[in-house]
Homo-oligomer: 302 residues x 4
């Protein structure tokens, strides 16, 4: 199957279940909310080596927030609900409470919630009040009063949605990956947790050469510079560089939509030869996103 002249591999992305929470950070300006959001979701690309996977979900207009100020919605996911909670506590305490002009509100309307008891930082000077119809804590700090909600929604979500973009040069693949991320930003309920939303170094499970101390290693069959050196390379002739886009989201529907928009944007970029996806034969998780199903309606007429 081809879409806009780009070959779509007949494969699927395999994803796994996580717990997901969202925090709405508001601030005096969008730029200030963004600064806090970037720091709070930093060092959170993969649960393999980070305490969580996190990122910016979307920008929220002043007329949509409880305090009438501009906002940025962040999402934090992890397979363990307890770990989601501890990440919320630490990331909000260290990176949002400390950030200029910010306030934080629950960003997820869900059945389950986790407590984020930052208000004890107030040492008894904190007090309860109401903002935009929500019960919040006000903590007197150096810049003024910090406003925060105490409970945050948590629900089951999906991590590891993905696709690969194969380009005829690193520049081609990179521009296509950036366009894909630009497209995915519009899908509410999703994040792309890697730097700039893009992964330069895909992994395989296991590391045969250093199996005693490494659990994962470079996906050598997808490494273009090894194409002539390994007998079982997946890299087609002419492909010089591959980027992966990894997506976490609140449910399968938003992952599907994000993959669709992201892949379509990549097919419109120059120098893209193939779009594929990563899976582990079903061993990683229960969610399968088949590329041909997602893109069928956009297939080129043969």
């Amino acid at each position: 199957m081809k879409v806009n002249g780009v070959t779509i591999d007949d494969t699927y992305a395999e994803a796994f279940p996580v717990y997901a929470s969202r925090v709405l950070i508001t601030a005096a300006t969008t730029a200030l909310a963004e600064t806090a959001a970037l720091v709070a979701t930093g060092f959170a690309t993969s649960v393999i080596g980070c305490s969580a996977e996190a990122g910016i979900d979307r920008y929220v207009l002043p007329n949509e927030t409880p305090d009438g100020r501009p906002g940025v919605m962040i999402m934090v996911v992890h397979p363990s609900k307890k770990q989601v909670k501890s990440n919320l506590v630490e990331r909000v305490s260290e990176c949002v409470l400390t950030a200029a002009t910010t306030a934080v509100f629950n960003g997820l309307d869900s059945e389950e919630t986790v407590p984020v008891k930052i208000h004890y930082f107030g040492d008894g000077y904190e007090y309860q009040t109401s903002v935009g119809g929500r019960s919040v804590w006000a903590i007197p700090i150096l810049e003024g009063d910090f406003i925060c909600e105490e409970t945050y929604g948590v629900q089951k979500g999906v991590a590891g949605g993905n696709f690969f973009i194969y380009g005829d040069s690193q520049g081609s693949a990179l521009l296509a990956a950036q366009a894909a991320v630009d497209a995915i930003k519009s899908v509410e309920g999703t994040i792309t947790p890697f730097p700039g939303g893009i992964v330069a170094s895909g992994s395989k499970v296991g590391c045969p050469t250093y199996s005693t101390f490494m659990k994962a290693s470079t996906h050598h069959r997808l490494a273009p510079t090894l194409r002539e050196k390994v007998p079982d390379s997946y890299v087609p002739e002419g492909v010089k560089s591959i980027y992966e886009i990894v997506i976490c989201g609140l449910n399968e529907e938003v992952i599907t939509e994000a993959m669709k928009r992201g892949m379509l944007a990549a097919t419109h970029a120059a120098g893209i030869m193939v779009i594929s996806a990563g899976n582990y034969g079903g061993e990683l998780g229960p969610f399968k996103f088949h590329l041909h199903e997602i893109l069928r309606e956009y297939a080129d007429n043969e």
Copy 2:
């Protein structure tokens, strides 16, 4: 003492010793290096709740880097040398190896070094080569070959350099704080690890009201909204908002220079009434930075 009409408190900033390392991240463009640097130094504002304190030290020109590409120098500090090492390993593995077009080089010429053995990710496909006269590893990954050095300098440094900016409104204090951070960026060997370089919520040691489970709490005597409510407030009349600038650096000299440039920039901002600093009477650490000594040559003539 006054500088440009702003009262400078006769006090000192108290700082503590850490170990510091620097990593030079290069990329195809400055913007791509910056993206990796921001993610790699995220969630690293304070060692109280983060795994390290980290930030961008400076932007490095293409003609100054081993591979002739634009670069961004990041710094990572922690009281424990072992923790510095583990942070380098994790933050580079998760946030730079995965970032588009990046390479990493040692950024500190020091006697001691720590190993950062990312190359095992290559599963035996990695190989040693030379870039700009440095011995490096090349790891075949999806986008091409990732280049990294294996050993990184580490040396004793200083964390917790600081000063406070007292403004007649939150906006006044914030603009002055941003100008201070802009000024500090020019001092090589320093970082300001909080979001945007600015701290909105200063702490005191201990939390009398919730002493059983909180070790630190809001510095209530510096909270402007508590001025009329606590008997021992430090907040002068007319001060509506205070921001703190926290600085880590390679040595006392660069902290001093950063404090000087930052405080001077703040005195040139509109609506600033006082500049002060935080200390714990010598219990926190051995380094003292006296504001009057640092700014003496700039004092207004009475």
Copy 3:
């Protein structure tokens, strides 16, 4: 009338008719489209001294553009239709045709159109083709083929929608103005043509002191530093700084909506005392936007 505790002056903004066109700039990434858009709409704050008033209307998703790439919609307005046309020709030729990876499409579905015959630059090597169902020209240039439509919609619009934000400090007024601009960005069909969307220096018609060569001059009755020096100052006690937001748009409805969202955002900022607007007693133009009408439903209960 007060909204969120901020006094809303019982006055109106006076605006004047213009012709308006829109150009959709697409590019390989949103960032590249934005770069072209900013340069193409530069030096276009006021028709008093610039060739047009121009700005970014909105960011357009890849799935909404003719070529499936990310885009930025710009708007160009001027009282003269001929001047709109010449601005489109010059600004697109000099600032978009020359910008990396861009294409341009008509962004306005209107009865009238103006021709923008950039394709002659192709020296006969240009050719007609179709992109996303639109008939376009392809011009071979250094980076590849530049795609452009030939006719662009033009319609009557409104310029000079405005409101003033009075703050207790420059920082307070500025943060509120930035929040207002953040809010207005969401209103499709509007632009805020001044730097950052904000005007620091409002004008009055005429210049009594230098009447022989100046047609406009500082609005001295709104200058906070002249409050004690001129007998007829409009500046209330305690107001230290005022910013004006100027809005151009496709019709009165979008100007009204933009003013509403902008003013509401400003009322939620700290340190704002009054919101007002500028008019010339009906001599400037036929459009009147009464602040009390626009904000009536949000008025505080007395």
Copy 4:
């Protein structure tokens, strides 16, 4: 000659004389100064269709500016001294006087000066004062007092310094061009006036097909998509995209340095095949910048 494996054409860039002025824009923060600078230097890519060529020269630290605030230095050039003056008057009046928190100072120490009499906008309320040892005007405006110098240095300069980057894909050529611009930013006294510093559409003098109304047209011999269609194409086999970097500067030395740093950065990028330059056989101007002379010391050993 090759540098880092990239062929350097044995040719020269041809440039022409202009007059140049510089304006130092300071503001409460670097970001605010940058906003004003970008708008003031917008729509100024080429004197063929714009009123001037303009851009950001460099960022200026707070301790280097007359008012102790962060700054951005812009440069404006034009073959006519009178046109330089009128551009300063209009661009500063419309785009800096109106921008939040800005002040303007002369940025060029030269023998000749031009007057920029913005202070008449003060309608007699303006007054002379001194900032950082400079005599300035203070004009009461809505945000407070706007500070500006009255005379600005102007000197002879050079426009049209240039080089071409030939890539194996559009993405490769673009990343190299961006790296080149990143490198050139460090050379004080230079600007790259096109969008993002990069030109996508090089011109030739004349337009044979439409000679009656077009004076310039696409440089068809450098258009990669015409390589097979024109008999005299300059495009080597395998080159898919070309970008030009155009540089204006205060003198030949800074242009040479900027070309050197820019070309070197481009040679370190992936997928670059040739670096060349544009000239008109000496008909355009008296300045010649020979690529082999500039890069001789960096030539690869054969």
